[in-house]
Symmetry: C2
DNA sequence: CTGTTAGCGCTTTCAG
DNA sequence: CTGAAAGCGCTAACAG
């Protein structure tokens, strides 16, 4: 569609829906004027004589009348609708945030229009357009990694907006999400404390996505503070199978090298690959005398989709016992984490959603604050994968 | 709220949103009447002189005009909105269906309002009310196990509706979902062919939910056809922790009995529990002389949430090797299925969603058919859990 | 306490 | 080809 403001003419002539009762019908039925009905609907109950009120109530019941929100909205200039733009419902994180959003909306009398961009920037643009066209009073945006262009209608001059999980470059708006820096530090420190000295941070392409950027940066910082341990970042573009293959192959080489070098129990070819490139600068002395030597390599997944991809690969490669071979920690705590026994950092997803709506509500009601950030802490959940 | 048609008065006086350009503004800017603008918007392009058209285009661009859908809807009597009422977004099934719905809506120029009841009947009622209030042209309902009462506004006399996954007792409407009978048969037959002779069908309470009913019934029928194998149904109310405990304990007893009785490798107390009640009538001769004897018990989960609960329990009880102890098969194919190596029957979720919208669209356009059912086949995906 | 009168932003006859 | 006028269902002054 070249011009988004133009739409194709409706194919079929409107087959009139079964007409519902209108306020006029009710007024007639109750033998009064529309105004009184309107007053009743809006709770101006005190100004109505009990007698009239009863008649109105009866009429409404008899006609099964339900006020038309569209018309109300048109007149009032407000429709209690807010848009909720989601990047990816496939990600459990999104669904959880949504629960918080719904609860808050319920509490505040708002109705969220949920729009699912399904990772397509074009969809995102289209939905944003649609939302403004329906005159939503505000939007909560879990944006794809986009810039000012598609997000132009919101924020600053446009409709009130609050960002979730990620901030967007050109856009000044409230934002609520995980305290990424603290979370990444928490995870890294845990891994270090458990004695891992070769840690891979695995993340989707992060140039566009602020939260990923922050996590990766915090990871690098945390690793830098710790000498004698090595930290690397592996970028996995989950949308590109070839890229994923390449990345996983790189990982495999490292794991194999570390495994044969460090695992004294598997007495196969320990000596032969002692000079493997990757594990060269790890100090063997770090590892205290456990009965089962630790896997030397730990994987730190930046979010659940990455963790799932990694887990699937590791399982395919090392079988059901993969957890003993490589440690896996992930930000996000999907329901299968417990099943796979991986350590996670759970985000306060419900609260994130709830706060987002509260922020938006304040903005809608015209509270004048400047753009705020609300960073909520994550919670480390230690499971077998990284413990002992 | 006693009376749903009444709403609390707005707390704050409407702080006027930054007013957007209206059709009148555009008309003035273009030096013409509203009618021509309207014609332009509705693609009646042929009746406009190229000159006027250019002026209109310019005016629209200059004012960044976007027609107000609410107003259009009010006038036209149609707003291209449909409701999508979801029982539980936490279930991957739901999200997948949603993708199909969205695609179809996109193709047909509809805008889905997604409402998430989060397994609360009250929410379902509330949303349904809201949807009719916004005068959606139709609804797609993935209902909780409800009866006519809350669903009264839809179907028959009310707005067009199509049911997804489940039919509802009092309600005549189109319905699209899995061919439950065939799917349950497929699963049962697979288990039987693999040599399992003690099969538990595990399902949430199914009096209210037609799809669960059908699956359970088909399972029982399929088992009845097969002599020498035993089939049982275990009901697990996932919302009730105590009930789940009870059910799982029952399961444990059966597994222990079967395990000690059949698994010659674990030479612990084979004899002592040979007279265990449950496994008594299983014929040991059925099991061909494999190197690793098959686990005798198979679990058939009626859907993914049940399968997850089972898997979590089994893992907690039998450790990472639980898959060797008990076979697990599930209807639904969540992303962790591959990770856990469980066999599944994948539903054609995308198609289900897509078809649902197509059905609804036909209904909206007034195609006069009688209530139809569309049953789509599931696909068996065999994984380690039940193979060999 | 109650009804009359204007519109909200748009579409749609019906005349030019 | 173009525009004026009459509403869609509802709310909000403004009088009674």
């Amino acid at each position: 569609m070249t011009d988004p403001t133009r739409e194709a003419p409706l194919t079929t002539p409107p087959p009139p829906l079964p007409r519902r009762a209108t306020i006029t019908d009710v007024a007639r039925e109750a033998g009064t004027g529309k105004t009184s009905i309107s007053r009743y609907l809006n709770g101006e109950t005190s100004v109505l004589s009990p007698e009239l009120r009863a008649r109105i109530e009866a009429a409404i019941a008899r006609l099964d009348y339900q006020p038309n929100q569209m018309a109300r909205g048109l007149k009032r200039g407000r429709n209690r609708l807010i848009g909720m733009l989601l990047a990816d419902l496939t990600n459990p994180y999104t669904v959880e945030v949504l629960q918080g959003v719904e609860a808050a909306c319920h509490a505040l009398g708002l109705m969220p229009l949920i729009c699912h961009a399904a990772n397509e920037v074009e969809m995102e643009r289209r939905y944003l357009q649609l939302l403004t066209t329906y005159r939503v009073e505000g939007v909560i945006v879990n944006a794809l990694g986009v810039r000012e262009e598609t997000l132009r209608p919101v924020g600053d001059g446009g409709i009130p907006a609050v960002l979730v999980d990620r901030s967007v470059d050109g856009l000044v708006a409230d934002m609520v999400g995980l305290d990424n820096r603290a979370a990444a530090e928490l995870g890294t420190r845990h891994l270090l404390e458990q004695g891992f000295d070769d840690i891979w941070f695995v993340v989707q392409p992060f140039e566009q996505v602020s939260s990923r950027q922050l996590r990766e940066l915090a990871f690098r910082d945390a690793m830098r503070a710790q000498r004698a341990a090595r930290g690397r970042t592996l970028v996995l573009n989950l949308a590109d199978a070839a890229d994923v293959e390449r990345g996983l192959a790189e990982l495999d080489r490292a794991i194999d090298a570390a495994g044969s070098d460090g695992d004294v129990a598997s007495a196969t070819n320990a000596a032969s690959s002692a000079n493997a490139t990757n594990a060269a600068n790890a100090s063997p002395a770090d590892n205290p005398g456990n009965s089962t030597p630790l896997p030397r390599i730990a994987l730190f997944a930046a979010n659940a989709p990455v963790a799932l991809r990694l887990a699937l690969h590791l399982k395919a490669r090392y079988g059901v016992g993969w957890q003993a071979r490589v440690a896996l920690l992930s930000i996000d705590d999907p329901d299968w984490a417990e099943l796979a026994g991986i350590t996670t950092i759970r985000q306060p997803t419900y609260d994130i959603g709830y706060r987002a709506v509260e922020f938006l509500h304040e903005r809608i009601e015209g509270v004048p604050t400047t753009a705020r950030d609300c960073l909520l802490p994550g919670e480390l959940i230690v499971r077998a994968s990284t413990s002992r």
